[in-house]
């Protein structure tokens, strides 16, 4: 599994789905447009400063609130490299992994990372290396199955492969 390297954007606790993707944009379908509102409720300037591959760092309970899948979809279309948080809301976590977004639970992350630090996320080991400070931050290793889903780019491509083999 390849590692992800990118610039960190740091957020606090309880970033809810409305902050990740405000409800008034739920009707949009164009991926570019959806991406252009990514994290708008939390930081309207993010999209201008964000380059694909960058990393969202957050505190506890990232993705809480409604079950809207758009919260994960906007991060996907914005090209997020990974989301590393102290904890995730359950439905967001499932939606994101199913869409093929790299997630890592890392209980100490906000203490060890400042906005703009360059991070390397090592998925295989469940680690984050802060290249700016030189520190290694331990996270929870993803399971083989989650890695398999991510390697296929999400659960739908994986299942298409599985059902094709069932024939």
């Amino acid at each position: 599994m390849h590692n992800v390297t990118g610039k960190a954007f740091v957020f606090g606790h309880n970033i809810d789905t409305d902050q990740i993707y405000p409800g008034r944009y739920l009707e949009l379908v164009d991926p570019q447009e959806i991406a252009s509102h990514c994290m708008e409720g939390a930081d309207p300037t993010l999209v201008q400063r964000f380059t694909p591959g960058d990393i969202i760092v957050a505190g506890r309970n990232f993705g809480c609130g409604s079950s809207r899948e758009h919260a994960a979809i906007t991060l996907l279309h914005a090209g997020v490299g990974a989301v590393v948080a102290e904890s995730f809301a359950r439905i967001f976590y499932r939606n994101a992994i199913n869409l093929g977004i790299t997630l890592l639970v890392c209980p100490e992350i906000t203490k060890e990372v400042n906005e703009g630090d360059i991070l390397e996320v090592n998925l295989g080991e469940g680690l984050v290396i802060n290249k700016t400070t030189g520190k290694t931050i331990k996270g929870e290793k993803l399971s083989d199955y989650a890695l398999e889903i991510l390697a296929h780019g999400g659960i739908k491509p994986l299942f298409r492969k599985i059902t094709a083999q069932m024939e």
């Binding site: 899948e69 809301a89 359950r90 439905i91 976590y93 499932r94 739908k156 299942f159 059902t163």
Partner: protein, 420 residues
């Protein structure tokens, strides 16, 4: 390991699992409710042809039963077609009730199983010692194809509830009280085990009320060690063998809480959040337009009995409606046999088809702007039961019945019980 971990380990073919690990577990039973036609579309989109096991998947028509709109009629039509094409053994059409009531009644819920449904209140089935959890459409479609689902092994919180409830106070009051104390985010992505002398003494209905609302704290699943009442209930409804997996004595909980409910008053969650809870003595004596007794939280025989006991021989307030929706047809028949239906209709109640009713604002008694409802259901955020301008107070069935009688939010213990 905890019993919950043992359930996950067994279902994923492992000896042990650890917190945070993701496992792929075999699902023993899966349920799709009538909000989730998307599951069928996603099933085909991913190349699905036949569901993994026709005995282990069901559809329940409860949110829109019977269909109130052309759109929901179309959903039912396409779902029925899928059920027939796939030859599913279990099907619960508009004549059955709320999924969380009809599944245990039909014997498809048992201790130690994994039950997954497209509904957040699937935590209810922890009452039976089952691992019950809710998922979205994509996850459900993958189960329909493979019979498996990936799970993150959750941290487990222990909530011990001791004591004996005073007269006039119900299980709903207990869980509201705990929600108020711990908050709506107390158990995000975690599991909750309820234990203690109170829980051990409880019947099936009360256990279901408490596990049902565990999800209002964010819990992924809830668990209670099955007691004698549960075993009798399950054995009367299913022939399948099951065993009870026990938590190891050295298991370490992520957090523990202890509550004593011996002095508890009726509780009310005032608008607009479930954890905005006050004892009835401190609740505002608002004028009430509608009282609702029903839903997967408050529509069982015990709940209807509490209302009937309070209203027997009386008339509800002329400015207040009382909507009663039994959680299932079985509940309806039983409440009828015991005379509660007649008591309540004579008191002025409106009965509707078993199902979700106005719990999520789809039909059968939704609220207008500015109206106030006291409800035995489980959510009170703006717009949940109709207009976003309505105010919803969550309370026990007894408190809802007292509100119907007096036209105000009042302590049900101040009402003289009706004549036998």
């Amino acid at each position: 390991m905890h019993a919950i971990e043992k359930i996950l380990a067994r279902a994923s073919g492992k000896d042990t699992v650890t917190t945070g690990e993701i496992v792929k577990a075999k699902v023993d039973f899966a349920e799709v409710n009538d909000l989730y036609l998307q599951t069928i579309y996603s099933f085909y989109e991913m190349g699905g042809k036949k569901v993994w096991d026709k005995d282990k998947l069901c559809f329940v028509f409860d949110h829109y039963a019977p269909a109130p709109t052309i759109k929901s009629a179309q959903i039912h039509k396409e779902m029925r077609q899928f059920v027939q094409e796939q030859g599913l053994t279990h099907h619960f059409d508009i004549n059955t009730g709320v999924c969380h009531q009809v599944m245990p009644e039909a014997g498809v819920v048992w201790p130690g199983m994994i039950l997954v449904a497209t509904d957040s209140h699937t935590t209810t089935h922890g009452a039976f010692g089952a691992f019950g959890t809710g998922v979205g459409a994509t996850d459900m479609a993958t189960i329909m194809i493979s019979g498996e689902l990936w799970f993150r092994v959750p941290e487990i919180i222990k909530i011990e509830i001791n004591g004996q409830l005073p007269e006039g106070v119900m299980a709903k009051d207990v869980i509201l009280y705990i929600l108020g104390k711990l908050g709506a985010d107390a158990a995000v992505y975690k599991a909750i085990e309820f234990c203690g002398s109170y829980v051990e003494s409880l019947g099936v209905a009360e256990r279901m009320v408490i596990c049902n609302m565990a999800v209002e704290m964010g819990a992924k699943t809830a668990y209670m060690v099955p007691n004698q009442q549960v075993l009798e209930y399950v054995k009367a409804r299913t022939n399948r063998p099951f065993d009870i997996l026990e938590t190891d004595p050295d298991f370490k909980y992520a957090e523990s809480y202890i509550f004593d409910i011996s002095q508890l008053s009726p509780q009310v969650a005032v608008p607009h959040s479930v954890d905005n809870v006050v004892p009835i003595e401190e609740a505002p004596s608002v004028k009430v337009d509608q009282a609702f007794i029903g839903a997967c939280t408050g529509g069982r025989v015990e709940d209807i009995k509490a209302a009937a006991d309070l209203l027997r021989g009386k008339k509800i307030h002329p400015h207040t409606r009382l909507v009663v929706i039994p959680a299932s047809n079985e509940v309806f028949l039983e409440a009828n046999k015991l005379g509660y239906v007649e008591d309540l209709i004579k008191a002025g109640a409106t009965f509707s088809t078993p199902g979700c009713g106005p719990c999520l604002g789809a039909h059968e008694g939704v609220l207008a702007s500015g109206e106030v409802c006291v409800t035995a259901s489980n959510r009170n955020f703006p717009g949940r039961m109709g207009s976003t301008g309505a105010s919803v107070y969550l309370a026990s069935p007894a408190t809802a019945a007292a509100a119907a009688l007096t036209g105000h939010l009042v302590d049900p213990r101040t009402i003289n019980k009706g004549v036998e």
